[in-house]
């Protein structure tokens, strides 16, 4: 089996020994990027479980591969962030993580699904079972005098995706929050199997609409490295500019919603208007407000002439000015600070244990920014210094977004003035090596987007796994709300602004 990975180190290991290795890895400052299982019985008659570890020191990604028939040792007790992946693998592959503390079904609801169905196994025949109650789901219970539960969702007020939040309260303070997600599992991983790389891009770019470009970049990093495509310098520049534009409009919207959730509609509306202008710019550039279909295998779909670059530069300058006003406004307004500071604090230790990424990690003092840790496209040459804040609270996350808007603006300005000449796309006729695989990384506005792709012997996708930053960060809210009152939950939730769609593929 061939491995085409970038800057990476591969070890095949026995499941029982891996638990020890995980401990050593953790002690050396590495953290879990993701666990990817695959049904490789047609290749070597085993399932494989790949653990990807990364570190902030620039050591690249380390891969540990465990082969198994039916079970593997759980590392959840060592790396709590492994918990969700292992539950997912138990659901979708039916491989038992031995010693896992919580084996309740994650995605295939026992209320609807027979527990013997494992859709990601290659021999799953696609028959949809009769929708009936096969079992129940047991929530954690909090007992005591005067303690009650408030259940929110899965259907929410407003236009929000489904998620069930179960608060155990003693009056206003939250004693425990339990989240149940995965209400609208789309089966994207299974859907992509057997598709060619171009076809899959169309699906991938719509996993989570507001991060279409950055998620596509992560996918293309993996796909292009399997296909041995080296894209032109100009295409790289355009990809980075689009990625940073997407980041900016996401952050502008996020900051606007923070204002909205503290009931301060005046500054929020100002930023919503700015978001609208950014989306119109997107439409001018790409023909789509969310920049869908901007990227293609081997390059990008449209060029940026000097007029378009000028338009972009004017816009980001405008954004910088308006955001500067907002920043001043936040810092000078005690009533705003009072709402944001010390609310929803995620401790550094918690962030580490849960392997957080993106804004949530950087606001809790963790130096995690894919653009600097595992540089892709031209980020390696930009010498980015990740912005780190230490509060871990809503204020830190808001301030961080504002600071990153400045950073993105600077990147765009630098690049648009030094745009190299060249084609925007190269042809991609090459066939991938049979069962070659690769991983791709990118930094979305929420954090690290991680792709694992393996090709089959016909040049199609054999196994595709996407790990969204939201999947990694969602559990952290359960810790962030502790010590807060329930009335502040919407604000804490909004300060992380996680995706339901990306989380639930």
């Amino acid at each position: 089996m061939n491995k085409i990975m970038f800057n990476k180190h591969y070890t095949e290991i026995e499941s029982d020994y891996f638990a020890n290795s995980a401990e050593i890895l953790k002690a050396s400052g590495k953290y879990l990027l993701g666990i990817v299982a695959a049904d490789e019985r047609s290749i070597n008659s085993k399932f494989s479980i790949r653990y990807f570890f990364g570190g902030t020191d620039g050591g690249g990604i380390e891969e540990y591969c465990v082969k198994t028939d039916e079970s593997f040792r759980s590392i959840s007790k060592i790396c709590p962030s492994a918990k969700m992946y292992e539950r997912e693998i138990y659901d979708l592959f039916g491989l038992l993580p031995e010693g896992h503390p919580d084996l309740r079904p994650l995605m295939l609801y026992p209320e609807n699904w027979d527990s013997s169905v494992h859709p990601l196994r290659k021999d799953y025949n696609g028959v949809i079972h009769e929708m009936k109650k096969y079992g129940g789901y047991k929530f954690k219970e909090v007992l005591g005098e005067g303690i009650f539960n408030v259940l929110v969702g899965p259907v929410h007020a407003g236009i929000i995706e489904p998620g069930h939040f179960r608060f155990s309260l003693a009056g206003e303070p939250v004693l425990q929050l339990e989240i149940r997600h995965f209400w609208k599992h789309r089966g994207i991983e299974k859907l992509c199997e057997g598709k060619d790389f171009n076809e899959a891009l169309g699906i991938i770019s719509k996993i989570s609409g507001d991060n279409s470009v950055n998620i596509s970049i992560s996918y293309l990093e993996a796909a292009e490295s399997i296909l041995n495509i080296e894209i032109t310098e100009r295409a790289k520049y355009i990809r980075v500019i689009l990625a940073e534009l997407e980041r900016i409009w996401n952050y502008v919207r996020d900051v606007a919603w923070i204002f909205m959730d503290i009931g301060f509609a005046l500054p929020a509306q100002n930023l919503f208007a700015l978001q609208e202008e950014l989306m119109r710019l997107n439409k001018n550039l790409s023909g789509h407000r969310f920049l869908f279909n901007s990227l293609t295998l081997g390059g990008v779909n449209f060029d940026m002439d000097s007029r378009k670059l000028k338009e972009i530069e004017d816009m980001v300058n405008k954004v910088e000015n308006i955001i500067k006003d907002s920043e001043e406004f936040i810092l000078s307004s005690s009533s705003v600070l009072d709402r944001l500071e010390f609310t929803g604090k995620i401790n550094k230790k918690t962030a580490e244990e849960l392997s957080l990424c993106g804004i949530s990690a950087r606001a809790s003092e963790l130096k995690r920014d894919t653009r600097a840790e595992f540089p892709y496209l031209i980020y390696g040459r930009l010498n980015l210094k990740p912005v780190i804040l230490d509060g871990g609270d809503v204020f830190a996350r808001t301030a961080l977004r504002i600071k990153e808007i400045y950073l993105s603006k600077k990147i765009i300005s630098d690049l648009s003035s030094n745009m190299p000449e060249g084609n925007i796309a190269v042809s991609c006729e090459s066939k991938p090596e049979a069962f070659g695989y690769a991983v791709g990384n990118s930094e979305t506005s929420r954090g690290n987007a991680f792709f694992y792709i393996m090709a089959d012997d016909k040049g199609k996708i054999f196994r595709l796994k996407y790990i969204d930053p939201s999947f990694r960060i969602w559990p952290s809210i359960q810790y962030g709300v502790l010590g807060n009152i329930i009335a502040d939950f919407p604000l804490i939730n909004k300060s992380l602004n996680l995706s339901y769609a990306g989380n639930d593929m």
Binding site: G171, L266, I486
Partner: protein
Amino acid sequence: MNFNGQHLIIGAVQFFIIVLLAPFFAGFIHKLKQRARGQKGINIFQFYINFNKLLKKEIVLSKDATFISNVAPYIVFVTYLIILLMLPAFYRYSLLGMSSDVILIAYSLALATFFMTLYAMDQGSAFGGLGAAREWFLTVLSEPSLIFIFISLAIYTKQGRITDIFYVIQKGAENAFLTGSGSSAVSVAIPFLLFISLFIVSISENARIPIDNPETHLELTMFHEANILEASGKHLGLFEYGSYLKITVFLTVMSLILFPYMAVNLYQIPLAFMVYFLKMIILCALIAGVEIVNPKMRVFRVPNILSVSFILSLIAMILSIRRF
């Protein structure tokens, strides 16, 4: 007070006009806020349309609901109607002016809140209970201020009925103005203190920013709305209309404390009505202004601002007693 047919008729007309205007005032505040934010804003008569729509919709009740749920919306609505029946606005007498005792008004407000929270709990959802607890948290904290405001008014004017109280204030102001003798510092200070104190209480009682956010869809942050989250159809319509009536009650009292001008005969009514309407518009703008420039505060900071209101009303009461 001699009670004749003219007072009855004008009192009734006054009542109907205010009841009909209530959704307009609420809509006006909303529109003003939206325009200030650069939004196009709702139709200024939107709340009439909403009420009409809600009346036609079916009522959905929780399976745990008892008869309380069926009567509470009516009790809440009628209670506010009765308060408005007692209140003068632009005419010196009101229909129930004879029994418009200030303590009765204060506790009628509490009665409406009581039934609204009963409704919330009767639906059997855990969040209704939390909403009811939050509502009482506010009401209990603002009740002392409200009582002190009304009692200081009573002591200040040596009257028990709200119609007489405002008439005495009006007379006092007229005398001071006509004779040119001016008013003492104390008699100016008391209405101002009471006005500010009542303004804070109104913001808290009427679920306004910075204490509550009437526009939010985030159920977990709600105070007032948390109570009527389960209400639907006509019940919701009555609760909504009740909340318009409630803010009208508070605004009307505020308008009379600071600048009482009520007609005493038929000919003064047009001018008095215009003055009343203008005062209400200004007060609506004031409420909207406060809502625009403030974010919602943390729940447990609310006692701070209500204690300011309480201290102000306490000072006003001490001043009224000294003057007495």
